[in-house]
Amino acid sequence: MFGKLSWDAIPFHDPIPLFTSLVVILALAALAIWVWRKGWWPYLWHQYITSTDHKKIGIMYIVLGLLMLVRGFSDAIMMRLQQSMAIGASQGYLPPEHYNQIFSAHGTIMIFFVAMPLVIGFMNFVVPLQLGVRDVAFPTMNNVSFWLTASGALLINVSLFVGEFARTGWLAYPPLSELRFSPGVGVDYYLVALQISGVGTILTAVNFVTTILKIRAPGMSYMRMPVFCWTSLASNLLILAAFPVLTVTLGLLMLDRYLGFHFFTNDGGGNSMLYMNLIWVWGHPEVYILILPAFGIYSEVAATFSGKPLFGYRSMVFATLAICIISFCVWLHHFFTMGAGADVNAVFGIASMIIAIPTGVKIFNWLFTMYGGRVRFSVPMHYLIGFMLTFVIGGLTGVLLAIPPVDFVVHNTLFLIAHFHQVIIGGVVFAIMAGYTYWFPKAFGFTLDERLGKAVFWCWFIGFHLAFMPLYVLGFWGGTRRLQHISDPSWAPWLHVALLGAVIIGVGIVLTVVQLLYSIRTRDQRRDVTGDPWDGRTLEWLTLSPPPHYNFAVLPDVHGEEAYWTRKQTAIKQVALIEEPDYQPIEMPVDTPTGVICAFFTSLCGFAVIWHIWWLAILGLIGAFAVLVWYAWRDEHEHLIPVGEVRKNARERRRIRMEHLHELSQST
């Protein structure tokens, strides 16, 4: 009846997961009750959970990503604590079977459920606004994508309380992840959660490629799109081409584990090297899926806070597309030590280095964007400069790893760990924090506190360097990754410094929460009245903060590369806004619970598959299909926003803008 599921699956004898999951369950229940007592459920249901508004979905993605960041970070701090304790005679506080789950969960969560949702969240919020349109191409599918991602995240977290998580590392290499060596449900949790969220991610890519290529404001030609839109396009093209390979790879491993196939097994002619190749055909583009939108955020920040257009826009676009293509030709550099031969290693090594060229160009272009500018050291600019300083070193160590003979002595070591945290934290996380600060006022109508924001930046910047520079050193000493116990006592001081760094990052995360709460409390003093708090250059700053559901009363007519800046400068010069257009009623897609109900059935199905409860799995599948058919049967697709409401809001915006314009023209 319940497959492999029994009371033994609950970790009654393991205080750490038991206590943690009880606290999380109680906290969630308390939160739900509090929201219910406040009477906010209907608001949440209509405005967020069932919303097809790209801005709301973007915010939900970002909230999901930040929540999971806390989970992934607690894993990180547990690992750092274990490694700084379990040295020499001591075994620390985590036995191997628990420690191995933690590092596997840390990697899986940070990539799939922190970095991906955050990056996709920013795309969701920003891209349609920057393109000057009202929504993405497929608003309902957008909602479904989000809920599928959330469903995967849910399953990963359920593994904490029911059963176990994978003990195989975040890529679950066979044969270790095969049934013979990992008979528990941990790997199944990993596989099923990633398959479900992977479907969501592919749908997101379909949505965004269509949006960017087919839905843009009049006059917004390709070479006028903001760089963030370009990098989002490149990133989504990569998702479209890479994620199906992940689906296949994990699917084959599932067939091995569930049905006794022989893709990657030691017996039956299976070939574990095939998994290595397939997973990295996805895995290498994946890092560019994350870093390219980050580059886009930096480009927006650099131009805005330097008060200048981005230097070498065409170069930037070309570099982005070059990275997009080359990133598919380098996957073998993840296993130079497999013995593929000198020619193969050298070709892939050189291909990997070539990616450093467009990336280097980007660094120089941001540098020259600041050159001749009026640089404002706001929080996002801190992150940009911090990123430029950190990322070049990450690039250096990356190129070292791409040189096969060097990789032969640093592969799989703590040097590698330090390298990719340097590019992921220094690159992606800094961009996320910059974007969070930069677009927060657009989303909520008030800015975040600057002083606390800078404190958060310094925590990340200093904490990161303390946490990972020692790992470079340990890597040079022959320190390998994923050690639950360290034999060499001379590593101790370095590991203690690394722990200190992690704690400082933790302080930064706490301060982020403090900053948010403080900014909410003092929001009346920090209102963004004009909708353009940073003197922006792209179209999202044209509309009010927060924007109305339909973003723009009339789609802006785009002239020139920096659509909003051009318009603003003309307006300032003439002390007049453009002529009032003829307003029309606006059709917007209706909200729908399809996504959340569909994800409910999918989660049910996923959980059932993990525990071999086949009747429930079939039930879940039928449920999900039925919901889709039910949705397809609807008759009302759009609701009409009457022209009166559109006109009223637009005139209010024009009044505010006019006041602001007078202030501006007086000051200049």
Binding site: T337, A342, R374, V406, N412, F476, W477, G478, T480
Partner: protein, 292 residues
């Protein structure tokens, strides 16, 4: 405690004198050299870039009246040329290093030497290392003994899951994979005892999968072979079955005789007298490395 503080002060100073920065053989020495050269080449670009980043950002800060504001300056062909040219030239240089280095240091390529190479077969087990000396007819567990100044030709495989064979001070690491054989050629010139380990996560007993590599002067190596041969247990099918049970932190042992063709039988997964073993929690042999 005092030792801890002291080592914290001293360690950064000797950081360059161990691990891959303290090579004991030609392969490791060449790899160290490539590492240092490439780092130097890249630092020559990166350090000025970092300084320029901070300097430009600071000089063009909003409050600086001396800096010229050029709000429309967004393109310069000459700068674009430099911006593309510098990384391209750097990468061309590094690509040359990578191409030559990959070919010179290809793990399967025999090393040049006037001495005939010694063959050692390496098997990664859960979770220990088995070293078979087919020419000498002996085998060791968790203790690699090689003669100084002699090239060693390793053939490697795994009996269970993937691992990486690595003695950092000797250089190149390589995967050991079940049902497959990889090849590695290394040489150690300086006698001594060096740390060896698995560099690829392989399950619960992984941190205990360490060994010592003893590099002996050739005569001492011959003596060691002589004393090992015939003494102690023989590594036949039954002994191998016993050995392949999952254990971790295993004390070094020596087998005085080895069933012929054992390595090939392990690669083919056809060792007589063994069956598929479940991948259980490790049992411990050594007090210091206690596994709960």
């Amino acid at each position: 405690m005092r030792f801890g503080v002291l080592s914290a002060l001293v360690l950064p100073l000797c950081a360059c004198n161990r691990g891959i920065f303290d090579p004991v053989g030609p392969v490791a020495a060449a790899e160290k050299q490539i590492l240092i050269n490439s780092t130097a080449i890249m630092l020559a670009i990166i350090i000025p870039t970092m300084i320029a980043t901070v300097a430009v950002a600071w000089w063009f800060r909003r409050g600086n009246a001396k800096a010229t504001y050029r709000p429309d300056w967004e393109y310069s062909g000459a700068i674009e040329l430099v911006v593309w040219g510098v990384p391209i030239l750097t990468v061309m240089l590094l690509a040359g290093i990578a191409w030559i280095g990959s070919h010179d240091l290809e793990p399967s390529k025999p090393l040049k030497s006037d001495k005939p190479p010694l063959t050692v077969d390496v098997v990664s087990l859960d979770w220990k290392w088995l070293f078979i000396y087919p020419e000498q007819g002996i085998a060791t567990v968790n203790r690699l003994v090689v003669p100084a100044g002699t090239p060693v030709n390793y053939r490697l495989t795994s009996a269970t899951v993937w691992n990486v064979f690595w003695v950092p001070q000797m250089g190149t690491m390589i995967y050991t994979m079940p049902r497959m054989t990889t090849r590695l050629n290394l040489q150690a010139d300086r006698p001594g005892i060096y740390d060896g380990l698995s560099g690829h996560f392989s399950g619960d007993g992984f941190p205990g999968m360490q060994f010592k590599a003893h590099v002996l002067p050739p005569q001492q190596f011959a003596l060691w072979v002589q004393s090992a041969r015939g003494s102690g247990q023989a590594l036949d099918g039954r002994a191998y079955a016993e050995l392949s049970k999952p254990t971790s932190y295993v004390k070094p042992t020596t087998y005085g005789a080895v069933a012929p063709g054992l390595f090939d039988a392990i690669v083919a997964d056809r060792v007589p007298g063994t069956q598929l073993l479940p991948h259980n929690r490790p049992t411990t042999e050594q007090g210091a490395g206690h596994v709960r």
